[in-house]
């Protein structure tokens, strides 16, 4: 079955790349997930590039012990700076208070998962500060440079903790 949700067998960790590659740096999560998926990863880990899943994210994260999300995140840092953010210790700003979002963003989906008690035990957001998120299909040089480093760190964390 090609069902895309819920872990199968002994899988425990899901890494999700999020974003729209038609909006330059907004697509960085997709690019990072593609790169990570080509690496040698420990058993029990799955990598998925979800593009723009909207509320569907709730279905994707349900049932996993641990979920890593890779996304463009506005943190007030310089472009290309990346951070590892524990969801439990991070305040997300929901879509309705910020800029136009086509579908609900990460903040809304996580709030919904929380309200329904569907959150995995652990959610980590690997966020990269974008430089440009306007129309176009190329990443900025700052983000392009950051991706190998964030992917390497995620891979190390996966091996260390699995």
């Amino acid at each position: 079955m090609t069902a895309y949700t819920n872990p199968v067998g002994s899988n425990h960790t899901l890494v999700i790349g999020i974003g729209n590659p038609l909006f330059c740096d907004d697509g960085l999560g997709v690019r990072a997930a593609e790169l990570l998926a080509s690496e040698d990863l420990p058993p029990g880990v799955q990598v998925r590039e979800l593009g723009t899943p909207g509320w569907g994210l709730v279905n994707h994260i349900q049932g996993w012990q641990r979920v890593f999300l890779i996304d463009a995140v506005e943190m007030g840092e310089e472009p290309g700076v990346w951070r590892r953010l524990e969801a439990s210790q991070t305040q997300f700003i929901s879509a309705n208070q910020s800029i136009s979002l086509h579908e609900p963003g990460l903040a809304d989906s996580l709030a919904l998962a929380q309200a329904l008690n569907l959150m995995p035990d652990e959610i980590v957001l690997y966020g990269i500060e974008p430089s440009f998120t306007g129309p176009g299909d190329e990443l900025s040089p700052e983000v392009t440079n950051a991706i190998p480093s964030i992917v390497k760190t995620i891979k190390q964390e996966l091996w260390k903790t699995t």
């Binding site: 079955m1 090609t2 069902a3 895309y4 949700t5 999020i18 974003g19 729209n20 590659p21 038609l22 909006f23 907004d26 979800l50 593009g51 723009t52 899943p53 909207g54 509320w55 569907g56 709730v58 279905n59 996304d71 463009a72 995140v73 506005e74 943190m75 951070r83 953010l85 210790q89 991070t90 305040q91 997300f92 700003i93 309705n96 910020s98 800029i99 136009s100 979002l101 086509h102 579908e103 609900p104 963003g105 990460l106 903040a107 809304d108 709030a111 919904l112 309200a115 329904l116 957001l125 966020g127 974008p130 998120t133 129309p135 176009g136 299909d137």
Partner: protein, 428 residues
């Protein structure tokens, strides 16, 4: 009496738009729906790219209508290149298309519209107060996604669909499981009809022109002719005679009109034009809402979506039965019969009729593209509704007026800006 309603970024609409209504001395002075649409740079992005990439690029335009854009794109390329897809390809496309219609309609009904009626600001408090309702929505959404994933290789952005056919095929066993799940989902579908039919839908009537695709053989989602409730029928290649795009100062989106000042596309237009071809269970659902064509209350666009949820679940079961009867077998995509050309694709995506018009050079690269999305076609009609509605609700308190207007906008299920999904955080 003077009032001003200025709702920036209507919440719970896909994307954003601003409602501006101004009443002075009990006269409606201003009434408009501003659209801040992302410019249609996608067309420019397609130029110079191999046609084989077009469906993958356009499927990223929208996280909700990804299969719709991809399918319309494929049909445009195939019409340009003289490709007739096989029976199996057509059925598989219809099945994944139904998956996406279900996904989008369920999202709209439960996540965007239901909170208005159930007295909560959004789906998140609803998840706390009535989790069963939201869990039902997520269950149905998951099944819709699983249909898309089984057929197109992935949920949101299909990868297995290509010009002339597919590159991946669902196993018969997968289809059998989906069939069982669809049958089991009837209980959720019935509960959806029951819930929605019990909601106090606003009473407001304004007749307009309803435009959709139509086909002689089925309730049209992919291909067909353009039909107007005012009587016209045109081939899809003549779409520009229908859309007649024009600019207005307050919007970055182009407006459209055909035989009246505006027209409506979407589930209600399909319902009005193609009602007879709905599955009997869908017609029974329509009866639960007291709906028979022609329905002229735009708020009932959402009810028409519920009717289509029933239809798509039943028709998906039919399609799977047809596929299983012969068994799905891998087949090569049908090759082009011409080098380059011009073609139009048209599909009824969740929000209405979508056109892709492509020009492909002899080297296989795109030389031009025109994409007309449903939401643009609805904006003039939405403004027409607002202008008609406001005088009827002018005596209500401003907040109540605002809610009526917001609910009207949401009823159209607009997808105004397929924009970025930037996450913002405040770090401790």
């Amino acid at each position: 009496m003077s009032k001003r309603i200025d709702v920036h970024h209507v919440t719970r609409v896909e994307g954003h738009g601003n409602i501006v209504v101004e009443i002075a001395d009990s006269q409606l002075k201003e009434c408009r729906f501003d659209v801040v649409e992302t410019p249609r740079f996608f067309e420019a992005m397609l130029r110079g790219r191999p046609y084989i990439e077009a469906s993958h690029i356009t499927s990223r335009i929208c996280g909700i209508c990804a299969t719709g854009h991809a399918t319309t794109s494929l049909r445009a390329s195939e019409n340009a290149l003289g490709i007739k897809p096989t029976w199996q390809t057509e059925l598989l496309r219809k099945l994944s298309f139904h998956g996406e219609i279900l996904d989008s309609h369920i999202l709209h009904v439960y996540m965007l519209v239901a909170p208005d009626f159930l007295g909560v600001g959004s789906v998140i408090p609803l998840a706390s107060s009535q989790p069963d309702i939201v869990l039902r929505a997520l269950r149905m959404k998951k099944l819709s996604g699983d249909i898309c994933a089984a057929v197109t290789g992935r949920h949101t952005h299909p990868i297995a669909m290509t010009v002339g056919g597919f590159t991946h095929f669902p196993k018969n066993g997968e289809l059998e499981i989906l069939r069982q799940q669809l049958e089991a989902a009837r209980a959720d579908v019935d509960a959806t009809v029951e819930l929605c039919a019990s909601l106090p839908w606003p009473q407001f009537e304004r007749d307009t022109e309803y435009i959709s695709l139509t086909r002689p053989d089925e309730y049209a989602f992919i291909d067909g002719e353009i039909i107007s409730s005012d009587g016209a029928r045109l081939p899809i290649e003549s779409y520009q005679q229908v859309t007649n795009e024009y600019m207005v100062p307050h919007s970055s989106a182009k407006f459209t009109r055909f035989q009246r000042d505006s027209y409506m596309v979407g589930a209600l237009a399909r319902f009005n034009n193609n009602y007879e071809q709905l599955h009997p269970r869908a017609k029974a659902a329509a009866a639960a809402f007291g709906m028979q064509p022609k329905v002229t209350n735009p708020y009932l666009n959402t009810a028409a979506q519920v009717v289509e949820i029933v239809h798509c679940v039943e028709d998906s079961i039919n399609i799977i039965d047809q596929l299983l009867q012969k068994g799905v077998a891998p087949e090569d995509p049908v090759p082009p019969s011409t080098q380059g050309g011009e073609g139009v694709g048209a599909c009824e995506v969740p929000r209405g009729i979508l056109f892709h018009h492509y020009w492909i050079g002899e080297d296989g690269k795109m030389t031009g593209a025109n994409c007309i999305i449903p939401t643009n076609q609805n904006i003039a009609n939405l403004e027409g509704d607002m202008k008609s509605l406001v005088p009827q609700i002018m005596d209500k308190p401003t907040e109540a007026m605002q809610l009526d207007l917001e609910m009207l906008v949401r009823a159209y299920d607009p997808c105004i800006s397929c924009s970025v999904h930037l996450t913002k955080v405040v770090r401790p």
